[in-house]
Symmetry: C2
Subunit: 192 residues, 2 copies
């Protein structure tokens, strides 16, 4: 089993995620079964279903962690921070997960998602959920509507653009540079 | 049949949309069948399926028209228009559909969608499709990436906020005032 340890450690969930992504990338998402993912990870289907609702959710296991990172950072921004500054702090905090070690995984995950309509829809829902969690957090900071929604959605637009650049094969910049750069571009665009 | 004519005129598609929305609002989306919608419109199920793929699509029949309005206006903006000005022109052009006569329909549609997770997801996909159509149009105008995506997504954030205000029971402002107001708020937010 040691040889199968992943960067997520030897836990079953991490091994299942790794195996699933390898199979999705190699033979396509639709062509892969839960049985095959479990087998590749050296685990049973039953263990798979203890960790994930279905083969789609394997690709979205990190969503709640990402949401928590964003939400904590937005909530914890200094009281003097403007709504967009608080959101920017949240996006930068996500750099904890979007590190060098993660990049190759994210790249492959992105290719798998781009190739499948059902996964693209699930990704849209994930992004909308993040936007709405950020908007809720801003409201708890006292930001009224619609400023809370606008700042959250602008933040998610910046997130998407930064993420697309980050996974781009030719990109060499780190997450925080990409977030700062995309935010600066949004500012220029919106006022021009 | 005259008595059943709708604001969309006496066409079968319009009658089906009206009947569907009435039933969804009255007894819930999940509890309504295609047979009941057709019957209420004085039509057959077969006619229903000539117009719509399923009972969900009835609520999204206007999406392609909205997309065409947005895209034509963005494409037709003066060459000197900045990306965000072109997008603003698109949002304002959508006022052709978001007029007083439409407001009550949109309000009811919005309530039905808000009450159902599957419909909310479908609405997310619709908004993402609009954003991506606008981004494509900007790219055809020569706007590079990621400016095209950022301007399109910022525009869709403004669209959402303007739309939520427009359907709000206490709102008395028209579409173009709401678009201009929401865009002005976004500018203040993003640079603050």
């Amino acid at each position: 089993m040691i040889g199968r340890m992943t960067r997520w450690g030897p836990d079953a969930g991490g091994r299942l995620i790794k195996s699933a992504l390898e199979l999705y990338a190699k033979r396509g998402y639709d062509q892969t079964t839960v049985a095959e993912i479990a087998q590749r990870a050296g685990l049973t289907e039953r263990t798979f279903f203890r960790h994930f609702a279905d083969k789609k959710e394997v690709l979205f296991a990190g969503s709640s962690n990402l949401r928590d990172l964003l939400v904590s950072a937005v909530a914890g921004a200094p009281p003097s921070a403007s709504p967009i500054e608080a959101v920017a702090g949240g996006l930068l905090a996500a750099g904890v997960v979007f590190d060098e070690e993660r990049r190759e995984f994210s790249r492959r995950r992105q290719s798998v998602i781009a190739a499948n309509a059902e996964l693209r829809e699930r990704e849209l829902i994930k992004m909308a959920t993040l936007a709405s969690a950020i908007a809720d957090t801003l409201r708890r900071r006292g930001v009224p509507n619609p400023a809370a929604s606008l700042a959250a959605e602008a933040g998610i637009a910046v997130f998407r653009v930064a993420f697309e650049r980050w996974v781009h094969p030719e990109n060499e910049l780190g997450w925080s540079e990409l977030v700062r750069g995309s935010l600066a571009e949004l500012k220029v665009l919106v006022v021009s």
